[in-house]
Structure formats: structure tokens, C-alpha cells
Symmetry: D2
Subunit: 112 residues, 4 copies
């Protein structure tokens, strides 16, 4: 992930503009936070946001995530599946089902 | 994007735990911002962060982005390519090459 | 704001540790975002958070805001009152009362 | 903190517009994160931002922090000084001087 076409399009976009010089991991980490907050702003007062705006802001977050993955040569599917494995272990179905509490509290909060 | 395998794994993870009830778009938007900040924290003081931590935090951001896309039935490649089209138009190569200024200032700042 | 005592305590804390070298405006701006997200995390799933945790996280956001104001020699009451003036003009009581819509939409959305 | 005048001005601003209904702690926590990211955006690409913009964005973060403190009846100086006490204990001068590492790593990283 993303599709080879999407990845290629993003790499070309950056290369054509000679923007690699600005895409330090730190700058990209800032950009991801900034775009994430722009998406959150669509839900700031609990309103139902415009679908198109959500699509644009979510795309912005994803685009900077992909730029960072490209910059660090990370395999996106690989890091997602690896993290999912960790989370699965922290939130076993029998304890976490229907409950959203931090894994550190799962055990103590679970009924016998 | 992501690969059908990754998408399926994420859907199963949520379904098994009956967590759809917690995954309102607003809650997921908050989660994306929270995870983005955890990644930014790795760069808080300009240090070079541990590669594994970066992979984990980037994966967290991507995972919540995918949960949101799933929830809203968005095609991830579609919204990325569509947003990229818009950005291409705002940042034409001849004006944006090697310069990182907001598109609204590109024209006025460009040399004749 | 804050009280001279609080301001002095924060300046001394930084000076004693020779941390001014780390407190660039950019680093402090990152820290404010990071701490703000830690507070948001307390409300991530709509739960009622622990009061003490909220106090600690809100304090962290305020502390970095004050460090930044100190670094840039800003008068905190001054910038707040000045911004409030701007916001008052953008959200006149007669249009904004009981409605939370962006000022750009206040006029068009208002009833005759 | 802030000065009684500033506090009163902020309370009046909200009361006049009947906005308490929108100022749930969760909404205010979102707003603090959103405004913090708008300030971070001024430093997104490492540029030196316009001083006036920084003052406005920092004021926005502080204003929402004060709204939240008002909503939760928190004494701002009190929570700051209390948090500073905790941080002082975590970062003793002899270990933390001139070093910016997480307190959990201070001991192990310190020279004998």
C-alpha cells in the first residue's frame, strides 16, 4: 500500500518540484500532525462535516504519511501488519470485546 | 491501498472486538491527531529517533486513517490521487520548483 | 498572566537546567502540540477523564505556552486581549449568539 | 493567572454569545489541539514565521486553555506550580542540566 500507481504519482510530484530538500522526517512528522488537526477541525464542535472536506483532509494526512514512509524506505503494509500483531496481543478478544480501556487496565477491569 | 490483506486484517481486528461502536468518525479523527502527535514527540527536541518507534507510530496513524476510510467507505487511492490533482494545480512546477511557500504567495514571490 | 511568582518559577526551572538551548520557538511549538494531544487523549473515546490527569496535561500545555511567550518576550495578557478584540469583531453578539458557525458563514446563515 | 481583567473578558465573551453550550471539556480539548497545530504550521518548514501570526495563534491556544480551566473551575497558577513541582522531582538539576532526555533515561545515561 498504496498502489504502485499512487506511490509513483507521489514520488513524481515531489521530484518534479525538487521538494525532497524540505521533506526531512521531522518536517513530515510536523506536517502529519498539522493535517491531522485540520481534519479534526471538521469535527471541532460535533457537527457533521462536509464529506468532500473530510476526503481532502484525510488524503492530506495519508499523503504526508506516504512521503515519510518513502523517505525512510518503509513498507507500509509491513509496518501496519506488524503493529497490528502487537496490538492484537495487547487487546485479546476475550478481554477487549466491546470495551475500550487501555490494555494496562484490561486485566484489572475484567470480571472474573 | 492498502493491500486487500491489510484491509481485511484491520476490519477483522475491529469486528472481533466489537469496536465499531467506538469508531465514530469524530473519535477516529481524534485518534489520528493523537497518534500523529506521538510520532511528532519522537522528533520533539530535534533528536534522531529510534527507527522502530517511528515505524510503530507511523503505523498507528495509518491504521486510524484506514479505520476512518473504512467507516466512511472511502477509496484511499481515489482520495489521494484526487487531492494530488488539486495540489498539482496549486503548485505548478515552474513556480513551485525548489520553493516551499504557500500557493497563495507563489505568484507574487516568483521572479519575472 | 501568569502571576509573577509562576513566571519566575518557570524561568528559574529552565535556567537551572540550562535548557534555553533546547527551547527554540519551533521546538516549543512542537511541544505545545504534543502536550495538547496528550490532553485530547484523555477524551479520546468520549469517556470522563480523571480530573487530576486533566489538570496535569492542561498545565503542560500552559507551561510550554509560557516558555514560548518568555522566549519571544510576549505579554500574555496583551496578546490574549488583542486576539479577543479581533474575535469579538468577527463574531458580533447579534449574529453569533447561540450559534457556532465559522464567522465567514455567520452572515449568510443568519435569519433576516 | 490570567489577570482578573483577562479572565473576566473571556467569561463575558462566552456568556454574551451563549457559547457555554458548545464548550464541553472534550470540545475545548479538541480546540486546544487544533489551535496548537495552527501555531505549529507557522514553523512547518523551518521558516521564521511572522511575529504577529505567532502572537495570534499562541493567544488562541491560551484562550481555549483558559476556557477549559474556567469550565472545570481550575486555578491556573495552582495547576502550573503543582505540575512544575512534579517535573522538578523528575528532572533533578544535577542529572538534567544541559541534557534533554526523558527522565526515565536520565539515570542510566548519566556519567558516574
Amino acid at each position: 500500500m498504496p498502489s504502485p500507481t499512487t506511490l509513483a504519482a507521489l514520488r513524481t510530484f515531489v521530484a518534479e518540484r525538487d521538494w525532497d530538500q524540505f521533506h526531512s522526517p521531522e518536517n513530515l512528522a510536523k506536517s502529519i500532525s498539522i493535517e491531522a488537526a485540520e481534519m479534526l477541525e471538521l469535527y471541532q464542535w460535533g457537527q457533521a462535516p462536509d464529506q468532500e472536506r473530510v476526503e481532502e483532509e484525510l488524503a492530506d494526512v495519508l499523503i504526508y504519511c506516504i512521503h515519510l514512509a518513502n523517505r525512510l524506505d518503509l513498507d507500509i503494509d509491513g509496518i501496519i501488519l506488524s503493529k497490528l500483531e502487537t496490538t492484537r496481543a495487547k487487546y485479546p478478544v476475550e478481554l477487549a470485546k466491546g470495551r475500550m480501556v487501555k490494555y494496562t487496565e484490561l486485566a484489572e477491569n475484567s470480571e472474573p
